[in-house]
């Protein structure tokens, strides 16, 4: 199971996502609170088995994620519908390595009736009913950041979304980064480090790795590319769209940590 950092149109780890497509990965299980282009692209190339999310859509001006919807509506793949918060709770459960987390609010709707990862039990302390959400244990979290040193000490500027939590919930963490910075620089900002290097398995240098989504302090969303993708229908067109990023996605110096 792959946890994908970032939110809807912002700082999605697209270079990594495209690489999954290039390598023809299939039957992926994805988890994300709120996704858009990342999930839509993986559905477009048929790489996904299930997605666990609270929200899958572009924002207003870009409309709905067609590839995702088509796949779900055809019954090809399964969507595990959550509230965004129950994804967060389930990841918090993984962070603390417990099998479930209690969560408020779900008892008013029917998501708990239709999905077996929710269950209502009696609180042993108060005897009141309480909803539990089963913990979600991602195998890998992929997170794109602005700055990271060679040890994997990563700093996210601007909104962190659920990335820090994902880096604690997943068994393995892969960082893609706009910039590899020297260790003395991350050390100067040691209290600002969001993901300490000892948690990180691999650091990959991928400038512009979030395009066509935005990356705070680096670049804005690429409106044209996004609209192009949304208009595509054929597999060949989609593969060509991905290929158009080949040079850019391989332009960094890939670096691997060895332990």
């Amino acid at each position: 199971m792959l946890a994908i950092g970032e939110n809807v149109l912002h700082r999605a780890p697209m270079a990594f996502i495209r690489e999954l497509a290039r390598r023809k990965k299939s039957k992926l299980s994805l988890v994300k609170t709120a996704g858009a282009h990342d999930i839509d692209l993986l559905y477009a190339v048929g790489a996904v088995k299930t997605v666990t999310a609270g929200f899958v859509s572009y924002e207003t001006v870009y409309g709905l994620p067609k590839h995702y919807r088509k796949a779900v509506e055809s019954g090809e793949v399964k969507t595990n519908e959550h509230a965004c918060y129950t994804v967060i709770s389930a990841l918090r459960g993984a962070q603390a390595n417990v099998p479930f987390m209690p969560v408020q609010g779900m008892q008013y709707g029917d998501l708990i009736k239709y999905n077996d990862y929710f269950v209502v039990v009696e609180d042993p302390f108060t005897k009141e009913p309480v909803t539990l959400v089963q913990s979600i244990f991602p195998d890998v979290a992929i997170i794109h950041v602005q700055e990271c040193d060679e040890q994997g000490n990563a700093i996210i500027y601007g909104p962190k979304f659920e990335d820090v939590l994902m880096s604690r919930a997943a068994k393995r963490i892969i960082i893609t980064t706009e910039q590899i910075v020297p260790r003395y620089k991350t050390k100067q900002n040691n209290e600002r480090i969001d993901i300490p290097g000892f948690l990180v398995e691999a650091v990959v240098h991928v400038p512009k790795g979030a395009l066509p989504t935005s990356c705070y302090k680096k670049y804005e969303l690429d409106d044209k590319a996004l609209r192009t993708f949304i208009g595509l229908k054929e597999k060949a067109e989609i593969n060509q769209f991905i290929s158009s990023y080949d040079l850019q996605d391989y332009s960094g110096q890939g670096r691997k940590r060895s332990w």
Binding site: L9, H10, F55, T60, V61, G75, A83, C84, G105, F161
Partner: protein, 242 residues
């Protein structure tokens, strides 16, 4: 004097008037209209309103850079403090979120909200984007305001296809009217000046309940002027354009 305003202006001002000074108020993604309404309230009668959003910017001083997203980093850059989505959910769970803006695709007279599917849950005819925060925020926020830029019988239905969540709605603002939820039912509270009861009835899939019927207040000159200032690029109309 003739005031010129769009439906989005009216909806924005109506929503702004519902917000009180000092309240903590949250909006999510694809939420430009309530975001503008929050800023408007803050600049008019509610200077101490606390504006919360997904990226975590507390009280961003401007929303002018939020061109295509109401969940972007620009809201953090211009903010007083950082308080991200995870924490906002927790805040609501603790009963400390005063007002949440949420939406949905189908609503029925009993206050049921569907943001999940059209058709069968496990084999949907249409897979909707998902309720995002709705399933936990609608029940736990103190007040919930639903805005929806479509008002037709496919949106306000006799019975929703699926109950993503239910109840605890305060108001629903549409291009035609304001609903208020009380005693377990949606009641028509006011209809907008440009429409008629017949039009609302025609566009609503359930029978209209109402006690006393009024017209929604028109935006004031001051509100319209302030809107031009805080939202010069008219983000509040984005949903009507796309």
């Amino acid at each position: 004097m003739v005031k010129s305003y769009k439906i989005s202006d009216l909806m924005t001002c109506t929503i702004a008037d519902l917000l009180m000074d000092g309240e903590t108020v949250f909006h999510g993604v694809s939420s430009h209209l309530p975001m503008v309404a929050m800023q408007l309230a803050k600049h008019m009668h509610a200077p101490n309103l606390v504006h919360l959003n997904i990226p975590g910017g507390v009280n961003p001083t401007t929303i002018k850079n939020a061109s295509y997203s109401s969940a972007g980093a620009d809201l953090v850059g211009a903010a007083e403090a950082y308080f991200p989505l995870e924490e906002i959910f927790d805040l609501s769970m603790r009963g400390k979120l005063d007002t949440a803006f949420l939406s949905g695709v189908q609503f029925d007279i009993n206050g049921n909200v569907n943001a999940s599917v059209i058709g069968d849950y496990h084999k949907p005819k249409v897979r909707l984007p998902g309720g995002a925060g709705s399933a936990v925020l609608i029940p736990t926020a103190k007040k919930v305001i639903i805005w929806r830029t479509k008002h037709d019988p496919r949106t306000f239905v006799n019975e929703v296809d699926f109950v993503t969540t239910r109840g605890n709605i305060w108001k629903i603002i549409t291009p035609l009217c304001v609903f208020v939820y009380k005693n377990g039912k949606l009641h028509l509270e006011s209809i907008h000046p440009h429409t008629t009861l017949e039009e609302v009835e025609k566009q609503t899939g359930f029978p209209l309940l109402y006690d006393e019927l009024t017209y929604t207040n028109e935006p004031s000159i001051q509100q319209l002027q302030k809107l031009k200032e805080i939202d010069p690029k008219d983000y509040r109309s984005l949903e009507f354009l796309s």
